[in-house]
Amino acid sequence: MRALLLLCIFSMATRKVLYAQKDTVAWFTQPGVTLLNGDKYTSAAITAVTGVHYKQWYLGVGAGIDYYKVRSIPLLAELRFESKLKAAPFVYARAGYNVAWALEHQHTKPYVFWGTNSVFNNGKYAAAGLGCYVYRKDDTGVALTLGYSAKGVTELYDETIWNGTRTVTESRKLDYVFRRLDIGVSYRF
């Protein structure tokens, strides 16, 4: 499945048909959904980016909901460069802040009966990839992307451990970094 999508994107990107780019600054908005393939786990994200474009350059900011392992809200900036080919193959890079928004079952619950759930702190978010348009008309279009992303969150909780004479409470910190292969589809308008 992944190889097929990769082939599709590649073939689209190699069409030798030029596509005109505008020389004026214009707004764009591009919501999309992404399939996230990670470490023995697959999930999804929805994202929306809005910003300005000039000629072949696109600069925007956006946000999304990323459900991979620990639900989070990436707040990101995106820079994209589109080629002049008909399918407008492009490369993009995203960077930003990953706001943790964990679901109840994603918290570690220390095995002490009066214990409280863990707390998640925010982390960083980064992504990069390639894409092209499978449909395009004027300033609208449907794009497919293949990329790579990483997001981080930090989990904190107290645990009860034995100090040799009695139980004591100490804190444990877990810095997670999740790395995924992203396959996405988005609509630009």
Binding site: D39, Y41, F113, R166, T167, L174, F178
Partner: protein
């Protein structure tokens, strides 16, 4: 190479890299304590009298004569002379590494020294000496860490560490139980009473894990009951171990029965055959911490929440144990956060946590009536003794005059140094 070919190659390489770089990682930063070992001989040599030391981390206690033996958790035993309860004196400290429990028979102090039992001659409290050392009798006290390789643990050192590892879990923590749980039942308890062979035993409280009955000592572990022969107080020896369940917390002897408190219930063992405790009856309750005391006809069990024992009940259960084979609940009294308790004659003493010490008229167990309360202390456990009670609390040990049960009065206190 044509540009298109270069692009194709680049895409292929990028795809390969993507597929191979999707490993999640977690970097854990945490603290643990690891034991520092010493040879048994070196540990034995360290058991001796020293100058009195401040009480900083008190554990169990036993009283015999006018001496109070109070454990300093993991370090040793304070010896306190309270011949005048108004002016108790801390007279000596006996270093016993790994100590948690204590009992006294005759002139000998029994104290666990990690996996061993130390027998200490306390004829002269200011100048005690190690009399005997019974190895390998408490192998489970440190979850296998000190499974006797000829060494004992002398201290634990704190280690802060960071490790990184792959994290391929799904992150569904619904069934997770990641954290080590140990009972903190070593804190704030005392031992039991009795005598045998003309040798008197110490008296303790409801949260004890050592119980002396005549010429035997019974010690409960997390899941077992050990029997020691103490006919010769200077040379006790291990007899046997019986499995008694899980979550065992306390042991209270009364006549020929042992009342064992566990996190899920109370077990009654008969010791007509001293070396062969036999289970006679059980009483099951909701999971919680539950010290127990008893008399001829009734057992009194306090259940409390907010502890490692879990549960959400705070109450006193009064059981009819006229028939030890079928103890039955006759009444439940609501409490605030009951810890240790004691019964003397018709008086019932309950350490009700932040609600203080409560004294009840328990002449009629089915209709217990409050008499007096000692407020403004966080009470843990109590040993009443002919009008003067030794009360362990969060901030100090108190000597309390309860001759007027309706108005208990603090005579003196030993402060706990933090």
């Amino acid at each position: 190479m044509k540009p298109i070919t270069a692009i194709a190659c680049g895409l292929a390489l990028a795809a390969a890299a993507f597929f191979s770089c999707t490993k999640d990682t977690v970097t854990e930063t945490y603290t643990f304590y690891r034991p520092v070992f010493e040879t048994s001989d070196a540990a034995r040599n360290g058991i001796k009298s020293a100058a009195p030391q401040p009480v900083t981390n008190p554990g169990k206690l036993a009283i015999k004569g006018h001496y109070l033996y109070l454990t300093e958790l993991g370090k040793g035993v304070h010896i306190i002379d309270y011949s005048n309860p108004r002016t108790p004196k801390n007279i000596a400290f006996v270093a016993v590494p790994g100590n948690a429990d204590v009992a006294v028979r005759g002139n000998y102090l029994y104290a666990d020294c990690y996996t061993a039992l130390a027998v200490i001659d306390i004829t002269t409290p200011e100048s005690v000496k190690l009399q005997n050392f019974v190895n390998r009798v408490f192998p489970d006290r440190f979850s296998g860490l000190a499974s006797d390789t000829g060494k004992v643990i002398i201290k634990w050192e704190k280690v802060d560490t960071t490790i990184s590892r792959r994290f391929s879990e799904s992150f569904d923590k619904t069934q997770d139980g990641r954290v080590i749980v140990y009972n903190d039942m070593v804190a704030y308890s005392s031992n039991s009473a009795g005598s045998g062979g003309g040798v008197t035993n110490s008296k303790g409280g409801s949260m004890a894990r050592f119980a002396l009955v005549d010429d035997r000592m019974y010690a409960v572990g997390l899941s077992d009951l050990k029997v020691f022969n103490t006919v010769d107080p200077a040379a006790p020896f291990y007899v046997k171990t019986a499995q008694v369940g899980t979550g065992i917390e306390t042991i209270f002897p009364f006549k020929n029965n042992l009342f064992i408190g566990s996190q899920t219930g109370m077990f009654i063992y008969n010791i007509d055959s001293k070396d062969n405790p036999a289970l006679k009856g059980t009483f099951t309750h909701a999971r919680s911490c539950d010290p127990v005391v008893a008399d001829d006809t009734h057992a009194y069990v306090t259940l409390r929440s907010g502890t490692v024992c879990a549960g959400n009940t705070n109450q006193l259960d009064v059981l009819d144990v006229t028939s030890v084979t079928s103890p039955s609940l006759i009444k439940t009294y609501l409490m605030s956060n009951p810890h240790g308790l004691a019964k003397e004659g018709g008086l019932l003493f309950i350490c009700d946590g932040a609600a203080g010490l409560k004294i009840y008229d328990a002449a009629k167990p089915e209709d217990i009536k409050p008499l007096g309360t000692l407020k403004d202390i966080f009470a843990y456990d109590i040993i009443p003794l002919n009008g003067v009670a030794l009360l362990s609390a969060k901030d100090a040990f108190y000597f309390v005059d309860y001759t007027n049960a309706a108005n208990p009065v603090i005579l003196s206190q030993l402060s706990i140094t933090k």
